[in-house]
């Protein structure tokens, strides 16, 4: 994988602007090796706590996650993407401790998850974490309402309160009229809405979604992505989102980690990945993406000319596709401004047209 330090300069413009938000979940050199428990344990101990890829192969074991380091910041949507079998499900299950990682460190805020007792873990999951599953994982014997109320009931919240909260969540995902229905009477998209409502009922701070929209057809998927972004604007959760669809990733991600064979190849904003792919594998992913959808004004801008006659302002993080129409219609350049509306550069019509021409 690319060294964290090598990635730093790329993400610099983002971090320079504001104080970086706190880290919610962080893992360092995380490994998950599949196979007989004792065998794996011996292997790791022999190589001094840090598994050695050659030794793993020799033992005929397979590693689902190799040496992964990730920081999920408060309030961000952190997307992990990769092809089928690249280890996405494995890593998200390690991060949520559904699978016990073989080696490495894992912290939730400043708590060492690997040192947590089963009881502490139950408490954490009851109050701080939520998860949405690819195939919904709704309980077939409970109505929509009871499904959503389930995590609260498990905690011992009384029936009236938990149902009230559940109703609120169901309204949030727009399923008010279906509360008494059972899951098998709902379409896939509706079922996943229930899954989302259920995972939000406990008001978790950290939200895991494992390919939540992959089982849905393209139109519904898009609708659900919009819905998801709308929710996030209201809720500001810290999110780990798994997908194998790069278009989905760039639509919703603040940052993306690309996985290949259990390794994280690159972490960066959608723009970073497109503009500065770390290797051929990442480049292959990003090739089909239209650059106008990921390039931001900040990347495209030239230095600010205070004397020039500006036609208007563009936010530094706006993407080309969002402002192209405005800029192309004008002969004069537009000023690029930061969050506090201070000018930091400008963009000309020619620059935009050249991006659009590239596709």
């Amino acid at each position: 994988m690319i060294e964290a330090s090598a990635l730093k300069p790329n993400t610099e413009p983002d971090t320079r602007e504001d104080a970086q938000p706190a880290t919610k979940l962080s893992c360092r050199n995380l490994w998950k090796i599949f196979g007989d428990e004792r065998e794996v344990h011996d292997l790791v101990r022999k190589s001094g706590g840090v598994p050695d890829p050659a030794a793993i192969d020799r033992a005929g074991l397979s590693a689902g996650v190799r040496d992964a380091s990730i920081d999920v910041r408060e309030g961000e949507i952190f997307v992990i993407m990769g092809l089928s079998g690249s280890g996405k499900s494995t890593i998200i299950r390690c991060l949520s401790m559904l699978l016990q990682p073989t080696a490495g460190e894992l912290f939730f805020e400043d708590r060492d998850l690997l040192a947590c007792s089963r009881k502490e873990l139950i408490e954490l999951r009851r109050h701080k974490m939520g998860m949405v599953f690819q195939h919904f994982a709704l309980l077939p014997h409970l109505s929509v309402l009871r499904n959503v109320a389930f995590p609260l009931e498990v905690q011992g919240v009384d029936r009236a309160r938990s149902e009230e909260k559940a109703r609120e969540m169901i309204a949030l995902v727009g399923l008010e009229s279906r509360e008494e229905d059972f899951p098998d009477a709902l379409s896939g998209g509706q079922q996943q809405r229930v899954g989302i409502a259920r995972s939000l009922a406990t008001e978790p701070e950290l939200w895991f979604l494992d390919e939540p929209f992959s089982a849905l057809d393209p139109l519904i998927r898009r609708e659900m992505q919009d819905e998801f972004l709308r929710l996030q604007r209201v809720l500001h959760k810290s999110i780990v989102f798994i997908t194998h669809d790069f278009d989905e990733a760039i639509r919703i991600a603040d940052r993306i980690a690309i996985m290949n064979h259990g390794e994280i190849v690159q972490i960066g904003t959608p723009e970073d990945l497109v503009v500065r792919p770390a290797d051929a594998y990442v480049e292959e992913f990003t090739r089909a993406v239209s650059r106008s959808k990921v390039l931001s004004a900040r990347t495209l801008m030239e230095s600010h000319d205070a004397a020039a006659d500006h036609a208007g302002e563009i936010g530094a993080s706006e993407r080309v596709s969002e402002f192209a129409a405005r800029v192309v219609e004008e002969t004069r350049p537009f000023a690029v401004v930061d969050k506090h509306r201070r000018p930091i550069g400008q963009i000309s019509r020619e620059a935009v047209i050249s991006v659009l021409a590239e596709g």
Binding site: R125, R126, F150, P151, A185, F208
Partner: protein
């Protein structure tokens, strides 16, 4: 090119070597046959070399009953206590349904629930749970009980079933959960279940009889032991097949282990668990007649005593009553399971339309009935004058059939006996055990390996050295002929059923009914037509064991992938070619499982056919039972189990081999 070349060169030597091997093996066996017949130890160690297993077991049993003590209480106290606890609910139900009771501290007699109230309550329940059709079935079944004068016996049977079923379900569920949660305990439970399913019921009637005495409670305990294993198995499988993401969800919701079990795993497995419940119900009713041998009253005893008197009409009426009871309870429990699955959208409307809940209505009807009889006691009993008795009709019918068809039936019987059954019996009985065991072990070795060969040989040796060889061979011959005939009839029916949807509709109803009938009932018409003897036994076994052959063939043919058949069609195969060259080969492993099941059912029918005068292991068990000789019964039971296991292991190994060759994984 090169592939086909190597293929053909390598195949011929292979074929030649197999032929050579079996040729040599056959010659060896013939030599062994001749030589072994000269030595009693190798032929049939009847007296001299017997191992007294039976006595050891009997002594062990005596020790349990007479001497074993846990300090504060003896083993006998323990069994008495268990029997007492179980007798309480049984007593309550029998008093309520059949015998009536005396109010405590007074002399006031309270009559049992009147027949019309029970019929009405059952019809009401059927209507609420399954609609008009089920209500009609309930009415037909329960009215039959009253009209044909089976009421009293039926209520006794019903009360013991109503106690045995919930206990069987709860224990089965508990053991299943235990095995699922702790793989260690599964290693103990699973082989026990295997054994319990292959040892004929009669064999464990004996220890139950010795430990708990003759009576209704013992019968109930035997019923529970018999009916529980499928529930355990179904529970394990059902819990294992709960989708993994539901478990992950449970973890993420912060469920404790207990919440996981009760709120996620069991409810999600509900539909499959209902299959187990249904099995417990069916098996409990299957046991009704058998259980009457150790003291269950009711319909079972009626059938048994009528059968012994050869009063066919009476046996038939009581047998039909058991069948109707089985069908009624089975359909009721299935409808209940379906309703649990489908009630969802309708529930709220239902509630508002009929303010009365099903249980409340049920109890209300019974109470009203009780009140009416308290005022007019004469109504409690179904009027004698209205009872129908078909006994004379059946007796007359049989007389007529025997008068007119005797020659034909006798000719069929004589032909099969003289040309097939008796020669086969001779051959098997005369073959020295050493030769047979060696042959079986050889096949096992070729199919799977040394381990199987050793197991098979050891089981044969056990049978020989406990003195049961000849009886075992008679069992093999009886079951063997029956299984072959059952397959000759069942497999074509299965093929037919797989080929035509309409045929399938009819066939599946018939097969369902055959499987609902308690095994004893098969004896009745057979004895009516063919008198007692091996031939009747065979026919009864064929009838009883037919169902799996049909089922599995049908299922095996249906699961051949549609694409494969389309490919064959496009390759220009005729329907017959598709059947012979594509479907049947691919379905063979399934069909063999069906044959396996057929063998198991045939063996379990053995003991029952002992009633019609066979002289096999079944008879041995039956005699042991009448003499309460535990050791003898258990040893003979184990012999039957070993025969079953031999067939099971051989077929299992063969099917595995076959599947590997077809690359069916």
């Amino acid at each position: 090119m090169s592939i086909t070349a190597t293929d053909s060169t390598s195949r011929h030597p292979a074929i030649r070597s197999t032929t050579l091997f079996w040729g040599a093996a056959l010659a060896g066996l013939v030599v062994l046959f001749v030589v072994a017949s000269q030595f009693p130890v190798l032929d049939d160690p009847r007296r001299e070399f017997l191992l007294p297993f039976a006595r050891w077991i009997s002594d062990g049993m005596d020790f349990l009953v007479d001497d074993l003590s846990f300090g504060l209480f003896t083993f006998e106290d323990l069994t008495r206590a268990i029997a007492f606890v179980l007798s309480l609910p049984l007593l309550a139900l029998t008093s309520l349904l059949a015998s009536g009771w005396t109010l405590p501290f007074s002399e006031i007699e309270v009559a049992p629930l009147p027949w019309f109230a029970v019929v009405a309550a059952m019809v009401f329940m059927g209507w609420r749970i399954g609609g008009g059709k089920l209500a009609a079935l309930m009415f037909a079944s329960f009215a039959y009980l009253a009209i044909f004068d089976q009421w009293q016996s039926a209520m006794i049977t019903l009360s013991s079933v109503l106690v045995a079923v919930p206990i069987g379900i709860v224990f089965g569920l508990g053991l299943g959960i235990l095995a699922y949660k702790h793989s260690g305990s599964e290693r103990v439970i699973s082989p026990l279940l295997d054994l319990m399913q292959t040892v004929p019921v009669f064999a464990y009637l004996l220890p139950v009889l010795v430990l708990f005495g003759f009576g209704q409670v013992s019968a109930m305990i035997a019923t529970i032991i018999y009916a529980m294993p499928p529930m355990v198995r179904v529970t394990i499988v059902a819990l294992r097949s709960v989708p993994g993401d539901l478990l992950e969800f449970g973890d993420m919701a912060g469920c404790t282990a207990r919440q996981m079990l009760w709120r996620i795993e069991l409810p999600a497995a509900r539909d499959s668990l209902m299959v187990g419940v249904n099995q417990v119900v069916m098996l409990s009713l299957n046991m009704v007649i058998i259980a009457s041998m150790i003291g269950a009253g009711g319909l079972g005893r009626d059938v048994l005593t009528s059968l012994k008197r050869l009063a066919i009409g009476d046996a038939l009426e009581a047998g039909v009553a058991i069948t109707l009871l089985a069908i009624a309870i089975d359909r009721l429990s299935q409808a209940f399971a379906n309703r649990a699955r489908m009630k969802r959208p309708k529930r709220s409307q239902d509630r508002t339309r009929v303010p009365l809940s099903t249980p409340a209505g049920f109890v209300a009807i019974l109470l009203i009935g009780a009140l009416i009889t308290a005022l007019a006691p004469s109504l409690a009993i179904y009027p004698r004058a209205l009872v129908l008795d078909t006994g004379p009709f059946w007796d007359e019918l049989i007389r007529l059939i025997n008068v007119h068809l005797y020659d034909t039936l006798d000719a069929i019987k004589a032909f099969l006996l003289i040309w097939v059954m008796i020669p086969l019996k001779r051959l098997l009985v005369e073959a020295p055990w050493m030769a047979v065991a060696a042959g079986v072990a050889l096949i096992g070795w070729r199919l799977s390996g040394l381990r199987l060969a050793a197991t098979l040989f050891a089981m044969a040796a056990f049978i020989a050295f406990t003195g049961n060889w000849e009886k075992a061979m008679i069992s093999v011959y009886l079951c063997g002929t029956s299984v072959v005939i059952a397959c000759l009839i069942g497999i074509p029916i299965g093929v037919w059923s797989a080929a035509s949807a309409r045929a399938r509709g009819v066939i599946s109803v018939v097969i369902d009914t055959l499987q609902t009938l308690p095994s004893f009932v098969y004896l009745i018409p057979v004895v009516m037509l063919f008198q007692v003897g091996d031939f009747s036994a065979m026919i009864a076994i064929v009838l009883y064991a037919l169902a799996p052959a049909v089922r599995y063939t049908d299922h095996g043919l249906r699961q051949v992938p549609g694409e494969t058949i389309e490919a064959a069609t496009m390759a220009g195969c005729t329907p017959a070619q598709i059947l012979w060259r594509v479907k049947l080969p691919l379905a063979t492993p399934h069909i063999m499982l069906g044959v396996n099941q057929t063998i198991m059912m045939a063996l379990s029918m053995l003991v029952i056919t002992a009633l019609v005068g066979t002289s096999d292991l079944g008879q041995e068990v039956y005699i042991a039972l009448t003499r309460a000789n535990v050791g003898m019964g258990i040893v003979a039971g184990l012999c039957v189990a070993f025969l079953a296991m031999t067939a099971d292991r051989l077929i299992g190994a063969w099917a595995a081999e076959r599947r590997r060759r077809l690359h069916l994984a």
